[in-house]
Structures are given as C-alpha cells and as structure tokens.
C-alpha cells in the first residue's frame, strides 16, 4: 500500500543573528524519518524544545522565512513541494493546532469555520459536522474565548474533519483536558483513522501516544532516535536507552529520573544527542550514529538494547 506520508532524512535549520550582523546557522531538526500508512496513527513523542512542532510546520510548508528545510517529503506518492503544500493544506492535509489561540478571537465560531460563506448548503454541512462532535447550534454564535478547553478542541477537530482529509496532523491535542474529555478527543482521531486517513499525533505525552497510536517515533533534541510499535513498550522490546528511560520514568513504572537536561537546539554535534546523559555512552557515540533497522523498528544507537544488527 502506498504510504500517505513519507519523510526521508528531513532537516530544518534557522539562520539567526548572534552578535551584530554575524549570522549563525542553527540546526534544530536533523535526519528525521517518518512513514504513515492509510488508517495508521503515528505518534511523534518528544520533550518540549525537541522540535516537534517544527516538524508539523515543515510538512505544511508554514515555516518562517529564516528557515531552511532539506530532505524528501512524499505525500500520496508525489513529492511535496512548497507549491503543492499550499494547494493541499486545509484540504487533503489539515492541522489540528494546539489551542484556541489559532482561532480568530474577534470572529464567532460559526462564520469563522465557514470562512465567510453564507449559503444554506455550507451552513448545513458545517452544522452536521459540529453535531457529530456534540457541539450544538449555540456554539456557532460563541467567540473563541467563551469556549471551554474541551469545546475548543472539538471545534478545531471539527474544522479539520469537515475537509475530509487524507492526513491529519494533531499538535499536542490533549493538554489541559481531564481524562474523560481527553479520551473523547482521542476517540475522534481514531474515527478519522478508521475512515482511512493517516494521523500524525505530535505529543510530549508517551502514555497518551501508547493508548492510541500504532507506531511511535521518539524524538530527542531534534533527532529521531527510535521507531517502534506501540506494543513494543509494554513488551519491553525497546531499542534506545532514552526510550527505555522514558518508559521507566512513567509514574506507574518506577518513576525513575535521570540527571541532566536535554541539549538545546543546535548544541549537539554529529553524535548521539543523548550521549551526555547515557550511562552506556562510549567515546564513539560522539561521532556519526546511523539510523538503522532493528527488529521491526528503527534505532539510532551504536549499542542498542536487546538486539543484533
């Protein structure tokens, strides 16, 4: 089956002014790989500051002007150029953003979703979509600030679902929601995937990713370090020491902290970004580390756990 989205060796960097007119190039994402099949939910898990949101912006072609993107993105079998991204976004490819700040604060929800269209067919179509997400007619007359966190999230998903997309990119869809509201929101994403769309779920919450995703890609300081089946986590079939540490840090799994802090963007060299905190690190970990297939997943580690290369 042809994948919906295939990202190969993507890197994103920024040009910044350091002092006066001196420019520096800041590599925020490097060597990123990602594949999403139809009907599949793929979670990208990483801590804040690891470059997750930039990945979404890169795919949608909405990176700021001082950024550079290299690598290969294929969407529905064809290369995704800037021009094509502009054509398909909002239609075949949609973003469910983090929060209400992405809505126009001065426009009521109804007219905002309809993009100003007033004809009865459009109105009926949106009414139907909002209904499906449990949003009554009164919601259309509310302004974004009047929505609760859970309602806002459903409005954003409704906008996305209305376009009948092939790819849904969800950026941190659940923080601030209580367990019940969060599981309802996740149910909506599952429905979209069951309808044949691919879902890219970007989150810092491993637990959430494991409850809904089929595949999990782990991101650390701008680098993909592991790709695994969601089931690999509970089965203890993890490959990278960071992924293992992440799993062991869950409150129900030992709550084990490790010292140190993640490197900032562009602070690491060519080597493994986790090496400064890794107990198994050796000198060669600071050199180039390839991203290799291992045991049904992929890993970027010279000495991966539990497997022969």
């Amino acid at each position: 089956m042809e994948p919906i989205l295939d990202v190969k060796d993507l890197s994103i960097s920024f040009t910044q002014y350091s002092r006066g007119t001196r420019q520096v190039l800041l590599h925020v994402i490097r060597e990123l790989f990602l594949t999403i099949q139809p009907g599949q939910i793929v979670a990208v898990v990483g801590s804040s500051g690891s470059g997750k949101s930039l990945l979404a912006h890169g795919i949608l072609g909405i990176l700021p002007y001082n950024s550079h993107m290299a690598g290969e993105i294929t969407f529905l079998g064809q290369p995704l150029t800037q021009q094509r991204a502009e054509q398909v976004r909002g239609r075949e490819m949609v973003l469910v953003p983090q929060g209400v700040t992405y809505l126009d604060p001065l426009m009521q929800v109804g007219p905002q979703l309809r993009k100003g269209k007033k004809d009865p067919q459009t109105k009926a179509r949106f009414r139907q979509v909002l209904n499906r997400y449990g949003l009554g007619e009164e919601v259309e007359t509310l302004y974004p600030f009047e929505l609760s966190g859970g309602m806002a999230r459903r409005v954003l998903i409704a906008t996305a679902a209305e376009a009948a997309p092939r790819l849904v990119i969800a950026d941190e869809p659940t923080p601030g929601l209580d367990a019940r509201a969060a599981s309802r929101v996740l149910g909506h994403f599952r429905e979209l995937a069951e309808g044949g769309a691919g879902v890219l779920l970007i989150t810092h919450d491993l637990e959430l990713a494991l409850t809904i995703a089929h595949r999990v890609t782990v991101f650390y300081a701008g680098v993909t370090i592991e790709e695994a089946d969601a089931a690999d986590f509970a089965a203890g079939k993890l490959r990278h020491p960071y992924t293992r540490a992440l799993w062991n840090a869950l409150p129900q799994n030992g709550f084990v902290p490790i010292p140190g802090a993640q490197l900032g963007p562009g602070e690491g060299g060519q080597g493994c970004p986790f090496a400064p905190r890794c107990t198994q690190a050796r000198p060669e970990c600071l050199g180039p580390v390839p991203y290799r297939s291992l045991d049904g997943g992929r890993v970027r580690c010279l000495y991966p756990e539990g497997g022969n290369l």
């Binding site: 801590s47 804040s48 966190g149 810092h204 709550f255 902290p257 802090a261």
Partner: protein, 200 residues
Amino acid sequence: MSLEGMGLTFGYRGKGKKGVLDHVDLCLEPGERLGLSGPSGRGKTTLCKLLSGYERPDKGRVLVDGKPLGEYKGLCPVQMIWQHPETAVDPLMKLGDTLREGGPVEEGLLEALHIQPAWLDRYPTELSGGELQRFCIARALRPGVKYLLCDEITAMLDLITQAQMWSFLLEQAERRQLGLLIVSHNSALLERLCTRIQPL
C-alpha cells in the same frame, strides 16, 4: 501547625451567579503531601490562588499555623508554582534577574535543578517550558516558605524531566518539612506522590 482553608467560597466577578468554590475545607500539615484531583473547571487552580493569597475568598478564611494569611508581612509562607511557567515569569527580564528578584539563591540549588549557568543570561522565550519550570521551582524554595502549592507543574514536561522535578521536590520537602499540595489530572502520578488524596 498547618495550612487551613475553612469554608472557602469564591466566584469570579461577572461569571454569573454560580460560584467556583462552595464551602471547601482543606487542611495541609507540614511534611504532608496532599493530592487534589478533579475534572477541569472544578476550581483546583482557584483554590490554590485563595490558599496562597492571590485572591481573597468571598466567604471563609485561610489560616497559616493559626494566623490569617493576610497578617503575614514580607515573604508569604505559602508559595504557588504555576502550570504554565512562561506566564509566571517577566518576559522582559533575564532569568538570572527574575531569580535574584526574590533574594539570594541558596547554594547548590541551581546545580540540583540542573539549571545551566548560561540560562541565567537568557530571556524566557529562549528557554523551553521544562527549563523555565526549574527556575520557578528554585524561586519558590526560599527559607521561610512552609507550604508549596504545585498546580499541574509537570503536565507539560516530558516524563524524565517530570520524574527529575519530583524526586528533587520530594527530597526538599522532606528536608525542609514542607507541606505540599499537588494538583494533577494524572491519577498514577498522584498515587505515586501523595500521602493523601482529596477529590474536589
């Protein structure tokens, strides 16, 4: 000796007749770790704001070791750590200045929180949420503080940083005999951390 909220009733102005809190009682002893859970919109953050003096209750009172909270001068013995650290620091101040604003920082605290010296010269937008939250915790841990209210302080952090922050805070609470009020949606986290859990 305890932080007591008695019959706390509160509503935000202009939000209609229905208040947020209605006769809520809460008691936190030194050295205790009390978990507070409940769905969104139930008033968990509001309760923290009342207990730390950011808002005054419409009815009821807050006593710290038997004395009304409003009678304490200078440093408030009840400090709150907020859910969104980026909204709890001055965006136009370097973090080193933000930290010094509350007085000298204790020796070894920055190292224990893994705050790198270079971060002190940065502005809040130049650090991630997890990095900022470390500063907010360092700022709250002053001598004289007896109770810490932790409002979803690790909800936006990755798991490793979350475990790191809590192992640090539990150790500090133990050493200083602090009372901790821990607000979270994550029941596994509350069960791990708390000596007692009170639903709101």
